[in-house]
Subunit: 464 residues, 2 copies
Amino acid sequence: MHFQLFPASTYINRRQQLSALLPDSLILLMGNEETGMNYRDNVYPFRQDSSFLYYFGLDTPGLAALIDTAKNETIIFGNELSMDDIIWTGPLPSIKEMANMVGVHKTEPYARLATYLQNKASVVKYLPPYRNANLIRIAEWLQIPLQEVSARASTALIKAVVSQRMIKDQLEVAAIDEAVSISTDMHLAAMQFTRPGMKEYEVAGKMMEVAYGAGGRLSYNIICSKDGHILHNHYQGNTLAKGDLLLIDAGAEQAMHYAGDLTRTFPVGTKFSALQKSLYNIVLRSIETASNMLAPGVRYIDVHAKAGEVLLQGLKEIGVVTGDPAEAVQQNVHTLFFQCGLGHMMGLDVHDMEDLGEPIVGYTDSLKKRTDFGWKSLRLGRELQKGLVLTVEPGLYFIPELIDRWKAENKLASFVNYTELEKLRHFGGIRIENNFLITDKGHQLLGKPLVMTAEAVEDQLSLG
Amino acid sequence: MHFQLFPASTYINRRQQLSALLPDSLILLMGNEETGMNYRDNVYPFRQDSSFLYYFGLDTPGLAALIDTAKNETIIFGNELSMDDIIWTGPLPSIKEMANMVGVHKTEPYARLATYLQNKASVVKYLPPYRNANLIRIAEWLQIPLQEVSARASTALIKAVVSQRMIKDQLEVAAIDEAVSISTDMHLAAMQFTRPGMKEYEVAGKMMEVAYGAGGRLSYNIICSKDGHILHNHYQGNTLAKGDLLLIDAGAEQAMHYAGDLTRTFPVGTKFSALQKSLYNIVLRSIETASNMLAPGVRYIDVHAKAGEVLLQGLKEIGVVTGDPAEAVQQNVHTLFFQCGLGHMMGLDVHDMEDLGEPIVGYTDSLKKRTDFGWKSLRLGRELQKGLVLTVEPGLYFIPELIDRWKAENKLASFVNYTELEKLRHFGGIRIENNFLITDKGHQLLGKPLVMTAEAVEDQLSLG
């Protein structure tokens, strides 16, 4: 076997729960296919669909499953290797053997799936496909236009899947803990490795060695940039100079595809400057305050607001903003410095279940996702529950284009001291991020703790 | 700019040559899009289409181009960043600016492409799409069924593109040379790093550090396996024991996406055993003989046959086969031990232009690809020309399932000593691979030379 599984009972129980949530339903769950990079057969590393992994565990391309909850029947569809395949791939377990390992006792050739779905377009429940290969197949099987496939995904199925995947069991928590620990090792390696004169991609390469060397991979493309204020920044071609602040947002997926997601920001080849440290400590206070709030019954949107308030309190102390920080958050002053959300759920996806739709994953019928700047980027708002796993990642980002826009509009000028802010125009960005499990009464930090105070980070840098 | 370009004249010349080959044509060249891994926005590392890179160089998603060779007009289609995008991505050059850098002076928003293609289904020439996103778009724009898109790709365009991309210019040779040198460093690092007790993925992780640390990436998923006889083997979960033969097939893509592709096989934590060395030296003799034949006017299919003959000669010396090796190759005896091809062209793709179809890329109208076992896996057969870049990668693979099949059929029993062969049943596999440029009178090894003799490999292992 070329992949790891939980005990069969785990998958059987998950499917039974799903069936109980959706009686009398025909549920289609699609695995992923190989995807060509620059030609069909030069494939990207295979990544199985996370919901398919959750219910079936089988980490191999070319599979799909039907759960008929009325008949209490589950079928895995896939093609057995031919003798010719075995010559090239070596002997592998059959579809039937793999299915048995996860408690499924009926299998069919993949092409038979079309027959099972014939004339079922109006009843079959499926998740919204994010891979075009699955989009095309569903359209063909159900005889519906490509453009309609996503809209016809089942909201009832999405809600059922979200309700299950949201709450992590012990096996999952252990897997996530492992992923975060690998992520910690990636960051420690980067801190010890980084030197002035290096390219950002050299640091990223060192982290990849750690992730892959631990039997994992990356849970998302590494952000490793001296331009930490550029939020969607995957460029790694800059040369690092002494004193540059390097922001690294990087995490591992462990062997079973559970994710870690950590961020640290540190000075290259030296200690923090006085200014860097003062801003760093503002973000530090924000993550500490926010983390301490995590507990069942607390709304994450309120934790986000509090994190923003602490950031503004800090900026007030250095003269960049004025007024009451809590009121300033109500006025969205923090979105000039903290344009994104405080965090998101994490599990088999680093942004857990993002393809199922943030309004359902991170919000509820009574708490809708906001649509205004800043808040619209908050992926998670809902009340916390025991078993949730999430990130906390406040930051301060000085984006010249955004500062210019607000200043030109004289926006919220009663709160923002634009003259003082101008001095930070080229400061860049700082983010600090940890991962937590929500427990009975509070929360638990996941993974090996990663140095976080400015002093502890500096100590780590000096070990290199 | 977040990517590198050749001088604009390079791209202008290439497009002019294409126009000369295809007068009065409307040519559509599609760039690639981002591809979601486990949800839409968690994307695989972006890889631009190689033909798009060849004619336009622009290494960013969301682009397509039309060349109207009748009107002598080239248009790049793409969407400019909005002010909101810039806040997240930082300032980037506009489509217009990027187009100008490669000598294109007309740009249009992406959506306008549909208008240009209206009612042009019968005349527009396009390459066969290997990405579903492009397949879906072409079907929509041309109002043709998805199933017909590939079949309607233009053979004339394919042939023209192949005729150009096949012959590498000096800038390309320098880029490939760089990629192969990074690949050499990957292999040297692996040889020095590998220890008994390690997992195969630890060695692969070390090589990734080298590739990414040099500003490159992998040109294909690393094969790093003690089961070297499994040809399509990307499993890396085995623990390496002292004396295991580790086969590593790994190469880098340098920053502009030109590929390297090298293979070495070495003993873990010790020297080659006598048996390992005798089989290693057979493969070594095969690659040396084959490489020495490389010159304009020589058919690669004949080099392949000669490499097979040398392998059989060696196996004859150790008693595994009998008879005349040249005759044995005619009878396909070598395919029991060497089931794949001797090599392939290499350039912007590690299997260069594979998506354009091996019958056109590797063969000609007068030399057709064979369809029998072994030969059907030879990607390149055609007569060599100055400017071709290719791999030479003979190997010996002892595949238990294949041996059993032949033995059960008593296949070619006058050539194969199945009793002696049985002793090698669990030997595994050996491959040695180098990359070459075909020159005026012969060939040139590309990249920093990588240790190849058993003794030189052992010396390198001892440096670890």
